[in-house]
Symmetry: C2
Subunit: 455 residues, 2 copies
């Protein structure tokens, strides 16, 4: 392994320049005007795959953005790893909060600041480079490897399931590795074994056909801004509990073992607040915080909009108001049932309010034992010098379930970002020590798998 790590060190400056080039492409999947950037970014990934020695590299078209595919399948007796990542990124607004332009990667105090630095370009890049180092030093890989890098993760991976289904045999693998998550904290190597699911709602209320003068009409009309606020207020109590009947019915209570793991995780509320610049939490009990972010469902308003939002005064009764909301789901909540409950609740309270639902993704619960889990654990210990802990994450990755269900392969997470790296936020960043650790972990991981002969 030493020669692989040496190669990474020697090539550090070149690697940083190449990463900057990848981060410079504003591949924001949520905004249609960035469609050309999406394609440019897919092409960049394909070129990079060819440079590092992968074969059969191609863009595979979907009904949405293309998936970039590449493989290396010249280790006949060894297992096959399918690596998954994504090349699309979140929007950058509020852009005025960025300290440097989001698509000009800037290094400050050893951190690389750019949209996508951690989520997920930085992590994808790290895997490319682990492969490159291994290839350059050894001329070959110890395992078979397939890469798929998708372009719609940040908008719910709408076409990935169909892609996986229609390329089932091409994607067949013994194990899937995903690097789109994080470690628990710097110096605390951790492996994610569960993700929350997601359903996504738009709650719309249309009143009049146009702005109405609040002097001439105010008082006689229901005001969509107020009615929407009243609707939302009926959906969640002030302590944060969702008030939609049946919402919690299928939530699996944490096992005593899980609660013990939480207690052993070393999570502190003070550290969590400091890392994320949080002013206050709903509770300062660390177990309760972990339960709320990993083991409990949510009902969060992402955006609320209606009426005049410019400077100065415009005294209208607005014609319409909208809220964008999502629910994170935990085992065993059924996304379709949650959609049904939310729609029924809203309809009962106010027939003028319309609910659109999207992205019905259940929660994911992975395995923490067996040879592939042992290999991940061993590689993380090799790279970071400490026994890793298995933890859950609060986020959602649509791809996970598709791959597990369709390919019938176990899915493992090799996530290297840190809590302070600011996923989805202004000033997203990544740091070289984590990247280095990630390359070492991935290289050691495929070495370990190479030693596992196929049954």
């Amino acid at each position: 392994m030493d020669n692989v790590i040496d190669f990474v060190n020697v090539n550090r400056d070149r690697y940083l320049d190449e990463l900057k080039a990848l981060l410079a492409i504003p591949s924001i999947s949520a905004l249609p005007e960035h469609a050309p950037d999406i394609r440019r970014c897919a092409e960049w990934c394909a070129d990079e795959m060819r440079r590092i020695g992968l074969q059969n590299v191609k863009l595979i078209e979907t009904a949405g953005n293309p998936v970039v595919y590449g493989d290396w399948l010249n280790a006949p007796d060894a297992p096959t790893i399918l690596f998954y990542g994504h090349y699309d990124v979140q929007p950058v607004d509020p852009v005025e909060l960025w300290q440097s332009p989001p698509f000009e990667a800037t290094i400050r105090d050893g951190e690389i600041y750019a949209r996508g630095a951690a989520d997920d370009k930085g992590q994808v890049f790290m895997h490319f480079k682990a492969v490159e180092a291994h290839m350059k030093q050894n001329g070959r890989l110890p395992v078979n490897m397939k890469f798929i890098i998708e372009g719609e993760e940040e908008v719910g991976s709408a076409h990935l399931d169909e892609f996986v289904r229609s390329h089932r045999s091409e994607l067949a693998a013994d194990v899937v590795v995903i690097s789109d998550s994080g470690m628990f904290a710097k110096g605390v190597p951790s492996i994610c074994y569960g993700l929350r699911g997601l359903v996504y709602f738009q709650i719309d209320l249309r009143g009049s056909s146009t702005d109405l003068h609040s002097g001439s009409f105010g008082g006689a009309l229901a005001n969509p801004g107020m009615v929407l606020a009243q609707m939302l207020a009926q959906m969640k109590d002030r302590g944060g509990r969702v008030k939609i009947p049946g919402f919690y019915d299928d939530v699996v209570r944490p096992t005593p073992g899980e609660l013990r793991d939480l207690a052993r995780s070393g999570f502190t509320v003070a550290g969590f607040k400091r890392d994320h610049l949080l002013r206050s939490l709903r509770t300062d009990d660390p177990i309760e915080v972990m339960k709320r972010i990993w083991l409990a469902p949510t009902f969060e308003v992402h955006g609320i909009a209606g009426g005049y939002q410019g400077p100065g005064v415009k005294t209208v009764v607005p014609p319409r108001a909208t809220a964008i909301v999502s629910c994170r789901l935990v085992p065993d909540m059924d996304p379709k049932k949650i959609v049904r409950l939310v729609k029924a609740f809203v309809k009962k309270k106010n027939r003028d309010v319309v609910v659109y639902a999207e992205h019905e993704l259940p929660a994911y619960q992975g395995k923490t034992t067996g040879p592939y889990a042992d290999a991940i654990r061993g590689a993380m210990k090799f790279a970071f010098g400490k026994e890793p802990v298995f933890v859950r994450e609060g986020g959602s990755i649509g791809a996970v379930l598709s791959m597990e269900r369709v390919l019938k392969s176990p899915v493992y997470f090799l996530g290297l970002s840190l809590p302070e790296h600011g996923y989805h936020a202004p000033n997203e960043n990544f740091d070289w020590p984590q990247a280095e650790g990630g390359m070492a972990a991935f290289a050691d991981y495929f070495r370990r798998l190479g030693e596992m002969r196929k049954a």
Copy 2:
């Protein structure tokens, strides 16, 4: 009077061209980038005043936008009218709902469509042209006249009170005439004798310093969008009644006479809905609707904003949410007391929510009897062929109270817009018959005042 009306008819095409030039200036006072247009519009009004024969025409600077002043003071024994209007306009968004560009006045089916067509450039223009017609035909006016056209009405007339105070003697007049309101309906001449007051609030909630990933944090944090919705929902019940303690304490109940006037007004809910394209009202009782829009206070959300509002998905817990709200006030509500009540209510419910208050304007109640009221009534009957009714309006004009209190002159409304003219809305418009009626009414009004010798 006939020669004045003849002059208007002969010059109709020229008048329309000149009005279009005035409407072409996007003098939006709420948007700082239109400051040059504000000044250009003030200059246009000054030039027009000179063209029609007013004297001492000038822009008078204020701490905000300039007031355009002009006079004609050559009728020593006759009363002096101070005419008030405004040259600024509302913003145009949502601009996509306009059927023709808001600053390219377009005539369709006899209506002139443009921002400001009714509120207030069209009405100001009509008064200019009544003066012009009289001057051209008779070489002089029968009364003394002062015009002030301000540029901040649509943002609360913040500097008008100071302007009126510091130019008290220059503005001295026997009577003030305001043309910034409407008639009850086409063919139903009406004179406004009361306006609602206004206080304007921004309700702000700041949570984290930045967007936070709803997967990683959702559940552990109070969500500003939801907390703001919950706050608003506590302020008004679902029937539309304000729940802030003390809010209604000082509201004067309508007198039996006022209720009789409402019943006689000819107002119908069907007509009100049809004219304004309203889908539904809180009540279909016509007296109750009139009470709610003219005689009762309001608490209306004008805008609500927080978090992501672009297309697609951005699953963040937003750092902040804001609502813009105003209360229309009726006699004898005290704006300062209402601000105090709202702030105390919010503070008691949630100390993180910040309330900013602006534009503390009490309601206005005018006189319906006396020689000046009789002159307005007579002029409206002359122009529209029917005895006018005195009604209240639900809107607010800050200038009214300043002028009444500082100049100690009675204020009368000569409003000519119609309900269907769409004040503050997309496709605002005005029509030539109303403009013609307005010119006839104003010309007849100053003829009547010219016959009143000064005491």
